[in-house]
């Protein structure tokens, strides 16, 4: 049943068979996408018409490959910018929140913590629409009452960043808190005893200790932002992010260029995952 206990062959091989099926189920979509990205065909699926790099490099009346598809490339770039801004914001505020909730005592801490982790159980749609509602409300008031036309409050880049940040910070908070719980508070007291101020203690002792978690939080929130659709769709302006662009293409005009871009994402994630596997092994 576990490594150290004997098992019947039926149990052992039956179990292995199920696990194999599960992993096939898991990788099948990724493999199908990757293989069909190289299909010499105008249809996204089978049959196989031979190997071709057209959906990456072609640029003619029939086929526009990924590297010539201006709209797609632009949406990738917007997604990268968005993810970068969102990940930085989320990591910084999430880390501050972790320090606040783990180390400080104050009134209404329990209530604030409840709000801070609520995004974990609030569907992304709800976050999207509620932020859209209140931002347009504020924008409208600023426009009609004060005549200030503020772009930040209308759908667009920054609204997407803030919308994603509203839950990104929660994940950063949880990741950093998990490591902060292992922090020996005597280290900070030692710093205070050695005449550091509280902020210096945080900067020189706590933050270096938290570094792996902070880097992890940045990576996780970056990927979350890069693949987010449910919140983003409500807040996006005229510049779609990659998931939004992918969605409309899948719905209305799918060509194998979608396979190509999906393949690039799968490839990138696999490389990142492999690197993290080997760096973890070294430790």
């Amino acid at each position: 049943m576990i490594r150290s206990l004997p098992n019947s062959p039926l149990y052992k091989y039956g179990y292995r068979f199920y696990i194999t099926l599960f992993f096939i189920f898991l990788v099948l979509p990724l493999i199908a996408i990757s293989v069909l990205a190289f299909n010499d065909s105008n249809s996204i699926a089978l049959p196989w018409h031979g190997f071709s790099l057209d959906w990456f490099f072609a640029n003619n009346d029939n086929r526009v490959g990924l590297f010539h598809d201006e709209d797609l490339l632009r949406s990738i770039w917007i997604s990268v910018e968005t993810a970068f801004a969102m990940a930085i914001l989320s990591t910084v505020v999430g880390t501050m929140a972790a320090l606040l909730f783990e180390q400080e005592k104050f009134k209404f801490k329990g209530l604030l913590y409840f709000f801070a982790i609520a995004p974990l159980v609030i569907p992304g749609v709800i976050l999207g629409i509620s932020i859209l509602l209140s931002s347009s409300y504020v924008g409208e008031i600023l426009d009609t009452k004060f005549g200030i036309d503020t772009e930040v409050f209308s759908p667009g880049f920054w609204l997407v960043v803030f919308g994603q940040f509203s839950f990104g910070a929660t994940y950063a908070l949880l990741l950093v808190s998990a490591r902060l719980k292992k922090f020996d508070p005597q280290l900070e007291e030692a710093a205070l005893s050695l005449k550091a101020s509280r902020l210096q203690a945080i900067r020189y002792i706590t933050i270096p200790f938290l570094k792996p978690a902070i880097i992890g939080a940045f990576a996780v929130t970056f990927i979350m932002s890069f693949s987010n659709f449910n919140t983003t769709i409500f807040l996006v302006g005229s510049d779609p992010t990659l998931p939004v662009e992918l969605f409309s293409r899948i719905k209305f005009s799918s060509t194998p260029v979608l396979n190509a871009v999906s393949f690039m994402i799968v490839l990138f994630i696999t490389i990142v995952a492999t690197i993290s596997l080997f760096t973890n092994r070294k430790k």
Partner: protein, 283 residues
């Protein structure tokens, strides 16, 4: 003390801004908007948006359908992934464990849009499955695998199940193998060991995972919209339509609020039944 206070406010203010501006106010706004009637500029409160919901069968039926589906997918995710979580933490050779765990993360990081697109390729009339079956001579007409509740369920399960696996694996890792050995030594059957030792120990992880899966499924739009049929009933689609097609934001706010209420209620019940706290969900 003054240095301490400075540090405290330095941490508190950004966190407060995040929670007040992006979590608390938008949700209050959502609540208030749901009681206003679209196009009626007077700020009178009205229950109209909610009466429409209860009077139109299509709305509340969709709502009910979505909730039941979300509960079903959550249970399915548990049944499908629990053996996998157990296998990866307790059965498989440790050499392979980290590699296989990483395999679990790749689809998660690749993102929902790409993997759901992968399922379109697999399940379509010219998809991997139909073409393979045709090639094997089992069928000569493609099976209707795509654009129905079957494909929608596959997509929902696929994009959410790994959020069940990972917390369950975390709790199983903390289960001391010697407990299982001791139970086996005392003559317990495999079934008894699962029921009396492994499941109770993994319960916090199961509840955490279940909550996240439920929330993701009930709030998902991509899988039902892309993989579901034309006549499929998914409540988030109603919200999207109100916001992005008919532009009746107040009606959409009411729908959103109802979704928030039902998902919070189910999550609250799950926490009550298992005796857990929301604070533990993220850990």
């Amino acid at each position: 003390m003054s240095g301490n206070k400075k540090a405290f406010y330095f941490l508190l203010i950004p966190v407060l801004l995040w929670l007040v501006l992006l979590i608390i106010i938008p949700h209050i706004d959502l609540f208030i908007s749901s009681f206003k009637v679209d196009g009626d500029s007077s700020s009178a409160f009205s229950l109209e948006n909610y009466t429409i919901f209860f009077e139109e069968k299509i709305y509340w039926f969709t709502f009910l359908n979505t909730v039941l589906y979300a509960i079903g997918i959550t249970l399915l995710a548990f049944v499908v992934t629990f053996p996998v979580a157990f296998y990866l933490t307790k059965v498989v050779d440790r050499k392979y464990a980290s590699f296989l765990t990483l395999m679990l993360l790749i689809p998660l990081w690749v993102g929902e849009l790409v993997t759901i697109y992968g399922w379109v390729i697999i399940l379509g009339d010219h998809g991997v499955i139909n073409e393979s079956l045709k090639w094997l001579g089992i069928i000569d007409k493609p099976l209707p695998l795509l654009y129905n509740n079957f494909s929608m369920s596959i997509g929902l399960l696929y994009m959410s199940m790994l959020f069940m696996t990972i917390p369950v694996m975390t709790t199983l890792e903390s289960l001391d193998d010697s407990l299982i050995e001791a139970a086996s030594d005392l003559g317990a059957s495999k079934f008894t060991i699962f029921r009396r030792i492994i499941i109770p120990h993994a319960m916090p992880g199961i509840v955490n995972g279940g909550i996240i899966v439920f929330m993701l499924v009930i709030g998902d739009y991509v899988a039902p919209n892309i993989l579901g049929g034309k006549s499929n009933l998914w409540f988030t689609e109603q919200i999207y339509n109100q916001f992005l097609s008919t532009f009746n934001w107040n009606q959409g706010a009411a729908f959103g609020f109802l979704l928030l209420v039902i998902s919070s209620a189910v999550i609250w019940m799950a926490l009550k039944l298992s005796g857990q706290k929301l604070e533990k969900v993220g850990s």
